[in-house]
Symmetry: C2
Subunit: 552 residues, 2 copies
C-alpha cells in the first residue's frame, strides 16, 4: 500500500480554496500511484477556526465541501483521508472529524476523542468528544485513525496523562495494523523532535506502522511546521516531509525503512535556531499575504530587534516589499542611523528617513502649559515612541501595507515598550523571541545575508535612545540574567523561590521581575498578534487578568 | 433557619483581602443571628481568575486560605458556605469547589459538575468536573449545593440542554429541601430577570426553597451585578439583595414570602437601561481602582460618546478624579468645543483644551516629501486621531492616571475608529454599547445630571470631524439601520440572508456590513478591554481569527 502524506498550507475559513487544494493534491497523489492521500486535521476549515466553528452554518458548509469533494474525486483510484469541521447533535457544538472518501462516497467517519483545552487550544469550547473509534478496513489494511491529541495520551510515554482514555490503545486492541494521525500541531522550538520521539515510542509499543500528517503554514499567532513523517513498526523512519513548506511525500507502507533523520536528533541548538528563523519567515509571509497585503513597513532604530525583523521580513516577502524607516529623534545617535541604513542597503529593501524631532518639539510646546513645573518622565519618552508609531501608520495608511512591530519577548514581558508607540503594528514578528535569542537569530540572518546586521549592532549596549545616554541596563538586569528568570516565570510558571534557586539570583530580584510581568499585562492585551516559537508565548495561549493582585 | 446572602465584591487574586472580607461578613451574619452565611462562587480567588488557576501553587494557596478561615471562624455559631479554587488530582487542572465551614472544620466539600465552556467562560480549560453531589445535612435541613452552571441545565426550562446531567435533579432525588446556588454570573441587559425566572421555575418544579448568591463588582471585562435572591417552594420571592452594590441580606427560610420584585418583571426597557448605566459605572470604578488608579482622562470631542463616557466616569470616580480634554484640530467645529466644555462644567470635572493643529501641520510637513503627489486619504484623518491619543497618553503618563476610550460598539464593529488613535486607553467604557443605545443612556445620564449633555449633542448628526464637512453617514448607513444588523450578526451570529429578511434591508447591504465586521477584527484584537453589557461583547467572549476568508 502506498500512502501520500499531503502536507498543505490552508487558510482559515477559505472553505472553497482549501477544498480546491485538497482535490488538486489528491489528483497528484493518484498520478503517483498512491492508494491513500492523507490530509491534516481540519483541512477544509484551516486551523484554528476559533468561533467560526460555532457560527451558524459553518459546520454545514464544511460538510457540503466534503460531499462535493467526494463527488469530484469519484473517478480517482486514490482514497482521501481528511479532517473537517462536522455537524454535531450537541447544542452549540461541532465535531472535529476525519472522513475517508472513496469512489464518490464517505466510506468512514469518526470524531476526535481527546479535545485539548489548554495553552493555545480551546477544543472543548467548540467540539463534542468522539466515542471509541472503529478500525477502518481499506485495501487489505486495518487502519486506525486518530486526530492529533488522540495520539498524545500514551500511559507508557507520558509521566502523567491528561485523559483517562487512550484512542491508540483502543484501536490497537481492535487489531489495527496501520496508525494514521492527522494533525494541526503548531511549531515551537524542539517540537519536531519531540513528536518523532513520541510516535516512535507508540509504533514500537504497539508494533504498528504509523504516519503523522501535519498542517503547514502560519495562521495568526500559530505557525504549523509540517514536518510530517512515517515510521515502521519498530519506530524507524520510513518517510519525511519538509519543514515550513508544502510537501507531498509518498510512503510505501510495507517498504524498507530509511534511517535518515531530517531534523537534528541530538540536541543541536543551532539546528533548532535555524528552525525558529524559518518559522518566523513563514509566519510573517502567511500573516501578511493571508490578510491580503504585500508590503510592510518596519521602523529601524539601528538596534538588533528591528534589524532582525527587517531581515526576516525581507526573506518572507522579498526585499522590494519591505520599507525600513529610520526616525531619528532628539536622543538618537548618529551610529544608529548609519547601522539602520547599512542593513537596509545590504538587504536591498526600501529605506526612508523621517525625523521626528521637529514634530516632537512642537508637541512639547503644545503640552508646555499643562506640563509646567513637572520634571521630565516617561511622558516625554513615550511621546517620541508614539510619534514614530504615527509616522509608520501614516505610511501604511497612505501606501497600503502592514506595519511590523519589532519588540522582543523580554521587553514585552517586563513592559519595556511603549503602548501605541513601538507596539504599533499588525504583526509582532519577534514578540516570542527573548532578547538573548534575538542575538542568536541575528547570527542565522547574517549567515543568509552576510554582513546585513553589522558588528556594531551586535556589540553595542541595547538602548531605547529616548533620553540622553539611556541604556536598557539602567532599568533592567542584563538580558543574560533577565531571560532565564522570564523563561522560568512565563514559560514554566514556576514559583519565585524555585526560580531564584535555579538561576542563582536573589528572590527579591526575581519577585520584582515577576511583578513587572504581572503589572504589564495591560500592554500585552493591546499588543499586535505575535508569532509563537516557544512553548508559552504571550497571546492566545496565556490568559491573565489585568486588574488582579496575586503575589506568587 | 436563617440564611445570610453575602453578596461581596472581590478582587481577582487578592486571596488575603478576599478572605478578610469573607470573615468580616461572616461575623456580621453571626451578629444578625444567621445559621448560615452563603458566599459566591470562587469567593477566595475572585472571578475570573483565568490562568492564575493553573499557575503553580494557586489552588494550594486558596485551600490554605479556606483552612485559615475555618480556624478563625471557629467560634462563630454561623456556618460559612463559600466558593474557592481547590486542588485537583487531574494533571494541569484545579477544582471549582464549594466548602461548608463550621466549628473550625470543613464539614462538606463538593466540586462544580457542569463547567461552562462557551462565550466568556473557559472552565473546561481550568477545572475537573465534579461527580454527583451529595446532600449536606445541616441544622435540620437537607441542603443541595450547586455552583452556578450546575443549576442551568433543567430539561423542562430549556428548549435544548447543554449537558446530559442535571445536578439539581440529582440533589432533589436525594431529598434535598433547600437548594443553594453560589454564582459568579456576569451581568448583561435582561440577565437579572432571566435568572429569577429560571430559579422560580426550578423551585416550583422540585417544590424546593432556593437561594441564589452572586458576586458583585467589575473584574476586567466582566461586571457582576449581584442581585442575589431567595424563593420559596412555589417560586415566590423571599429575599432580594441589591444590584451593583455589596449587600448582606437575611432570609428566614421557613418565613413568609415577600412579593416585591426589585427588578422590573415586565419588559421595562427604561428600567434595564438604568441597569446598564449602573453596570458601566460599577465596571469603570472597579477597573480603575482595582488597577490601582484614581484619576482618568477622557478625550472630549463634543460628541455623544465622549459626553456619555465623561458622565459615567464622573459618577464612578467622582468629578475631581476626571479630566476632560478637548483637542481641537483643523476640522473641529466651534460648537463641538462649546458642547464639550458645557458637559465638563455641568459635571464639575476638570477640563483642558490642547489644540493639535500646530502639531498636525508640523507632522504633515515632515511627511510631505514621502506623500508628494498622493491625494489625502485616511492617513491624514487617522493622524489627527493618533495625535489626540498621544496627547491623552502624555497627560496620563505625566500626572498618573488611566485614559478612558470613548468608542461605541457600532463603530468598533465596523472599524469606524482609529487604532492607536481614539482607541488609545486602558478601558473602553462604552465599547459594548451600540450607538442607538448610547443616545438612550445619555438620557439616563441627563436625568442624574440635568442638562449635562446638551440638546445640541443629542440632535446634531454624528461626525468624526477629521475632514471638512464629514458625517458618519458618508461612510455608514444610519445607526437606526446599522445597529439592528450588527445585533443580528454579532450578538446572534445569524446568516446574512436571515438578517436581511429580519431587518428589511437588501442582502447586499447586510453582506457589506458583515464584511466590514470581519475585516476589522485586527483592530478589536488590539482594543482596550471593554465592559460587557450585552449578551455578546467584543473581547474575551468572541474569538475570531484575523487572517481568514469565511463568507457567511
Amino acid at each position: 500500500m502506498r500512502l501520500a502524506l499531503a502536507q498543505a498550507n490552508f487558510t482559515v475559513g477559505d472553505l472553497t480554496g482549501n477544498s480546491e487544494k485538497i482535490l488538486r493534491l489528491a489528483r497528484k497523489a493518484d498520478a503517483l500511484g498512491a492508494d491513500l492521500a492523507v490530509f491534516p486535521e481540519l483541512a477544509v476549515a484551516g486551523y484554528p477556526p476559533l468561533d467560526l466553528v460555532t457560527t451558524a452554518g459553518f459546520p454545514e458548509a464544511c460538510e457540503a465541501q466534503v460531499r462535493r469533494l467526494a463527488q469530484r474525486s469519484a473517478a480517482l483510484r486514490t482514497a482521501i483521508v481528511l479532517g473537517f469541521c462536522g455537524v454535531s447533535a450537541e447544542p452549540g457544538k461541532a465535531s472535529n472529524c476525519v472522513a475517508c472518501v472513496h469512489s464518490g462516497q464517505i466510506v468512514h467517519r469518526q470524531a476526535k476523542a481527546l479535545l485539548p483545552t489548554y495553552d493555545v487550544f480551546d477544543e472543548a469550547r467548540y467540539f463534542e468528544s468522539g466515542s471509541t473509534p472503529a478500525v477502518w478496513n481499506f485495501g487489505g489494511a486495518r487502519i486506525g485513525l486518530t486526530i492529533c491529541e488522540d495520539a498524545w495520551n500514551d500511559k507508557q510515554f507520558w509521566e502523567r496523562t491528561r485523559y483517562s482514555r487512550d484512542p491508540v490503545e483502543e484501536l490497537a486492541s481492535q487489531g489495527a495494523d496501520l496508525l494514521l494521525n492527522i494533525s494541526a500541531s503548531p511549531f515551537h522550538a524542539g517540537r519536531r523532535q519531540f513528536r518523532l520521539r513520541m510516535f516512535r515510542a507508540l509504533a514500537a509499543r504497539h508494533a504498528i506502522r504509523a504516519a503523522f500528517v501535519n498542517q503547514v503554514g502560519g495562521n495568526d499567532q500559530l505557525i504549523f511546521d509540517g514536518s510530517s513523517f512515517a515510521v515502521d513498526g519498530t519506530g524507524r523512519l520510513g518517510a519525511t516531509a519538509a519543514s515550513f513548506d508544502e510537501d507531498l511525500v509518498c510512503w510505501d507502507v510495507t517498504g524498507g525503512a530509511r534511517m535518515d533523520s531530517p531534523w537534528p536528533g541530538r540536541a543541536d541548538s543551532d539546528g533548532e535556531l535555524a528552525a525558529v528563523y524559518e518559522a518566523l519567515v513563514l509566519g510573517t509571509r502567511d500573516y501578511v499575504t493571508k490578510c491580503g497585503f504585500r508590503d510592510v513597513f518596519v521602523g529601524m532604530s539601528g538596534g538588533i530587534d528591528s534589524a532582525l525583523t527587517a531581515v526576516i521580513a525581507s526573506d518572507a516577502l522579498g526585499p522590494r516589499h519591505v520599507t525600513g524607516v529610520a526616525m531619528p529623534g532628539p536622543y538618537s545617535s548618529d551610529g544608529s542611523l548609519v547601522d539602520a541604513r547599512h542593513t537596509a542597503e545590504a538587504l536591498g529593501i526600501g529605506f526612508k528617513t523621517i525625523e521626528i524631532t521637529p514634530v516632537y518639539d512642537r508637541f512639547l510646546k503644545q503640552l508646555a502649559p499643562s506640563f509646567a513645573g513637572m520634571p521630565p518622565n516617561t511622558a516625554e519618552e513615550n511621546l517620541q515612541a508614539r510619534l514614530r508609531g504615527s509616522v509608520l501608520m501614516a505610511l501604511a495608511n497612505k501606501f497600503g501595507g502592514l506595519v511590523l512591530t519589532t519588540g522582543n519577548k523580554s521587553e514585552l514581558a517586563v513592559g519595556y515598550c511603549t503602548i501605541y508607540g513601538d507596539m504599533c503594528g499588525g504583526l509582532a514578528v519577534i514578540s516570542d523571541v527573548p532578547k538573548t535569542m534575538a542575538y542568536k537569530l541575528a547570527g542565522v540572518g547574517n549567515r543568509r545575508h552576510p554582513g546585513a546586521i553589522p558588528e556594531s549592532v551586535l556589540t553595542k549596549p541595547p538602548s531605547a535612545e529616548l533620553r540622553p545616554d539611556q541604556k536598557d541596563s539602567d532599568s533592567l538586569p542584563r538580558y543574560e540574567v533577565l531571560d532565564p528568570i522570564l523563561q522560568a516565570y512565563v514559560e514554566e510558571s514556576l514559583p519565585v523561590a524555585e526560580i531564584a534557586e535555579r538561576v542563582g539570583q536573589p528572590a527579591e530580584l526575581v519577585r520584582e521581575i515577576a511583578r513587572m510581568v504581572d503589572r504589564n499585562e495591560y500592554k500585552r492585551q493591546q499588543a499586535a498578534p505575535g508569532l509563537r516559537v516557544t512553548s508559552k508565548a504571550f497571546g492566545m495561549g496565556r490568559r491573565y487578568p489585568i486588574a488582579q493582585r496575586y503575589v506568587r
